[in-house]
Symmetry: C2
Subunit: 95 residues, 2 copies
């Protein structure tokens, strides 16, 4: 059983019914980073968790940051790590 890298994980609270949000986020990232992501794992969790990790690095945590990641910002975090030369189009901030 081979785990692919880069591996992005989305751990979501099942009690909060965040599967659809997690699934949407996963598909958005896989649409943007078609060939750059090795896999995106959806991980059922509990207790209000909504965490996004890339190869073990925590990119977003609802507990720390509050709310949910803004998708353009999340894509920038992923891009900076796995495809730093990629432009993300009109929503891309250069900073």
């Amino acid at each position: 059983m081979t785990q692919r890298q880069p591996r992005l994980e989305i751990e979501y609270c099942t009690q909060c019914r965040w599967l659809l949000r997690a699934g949407w986020t996963a598909q958005e990232l896989l649409t943007t980073f078609v060939t750059e992501l090795g896999e995106v794992a959806l991980i059922p969790g509990v207790g209000g968790v909504f965490d996004v990790r890339l190869d073990g690095e925590l990119l977003w945590s609802r507990k720390d940051q509050g709310g949910f990641p803004e998708l353009a910002a999340l894509k920038q975090l992923v891009r900076d790590r796995i495809a730093p030369d990629r432009s993300l189009g009109h929503s891309d901030k250069k900073d």
Copy 2:
């Protein structure tokens, strides 16, 4: 970086644009097996691949079986391995 088990993998062909199908399958399985699945990984592939694996065991391969897995049948394959006592409701065949 912890991989959760049972781990279900869906490897899909990006050239064939099967992400939405893979994402839908992932969410259906996570809706049915809320607490029984450790994770579902979406894995971009090429060359017409649509494979479903559970902890390394190939449950469905488009190359071998042709077409796509019927969702009720796929759920039965998963259920038999990770939650054998679970009924899948009205669509469940006892055989």
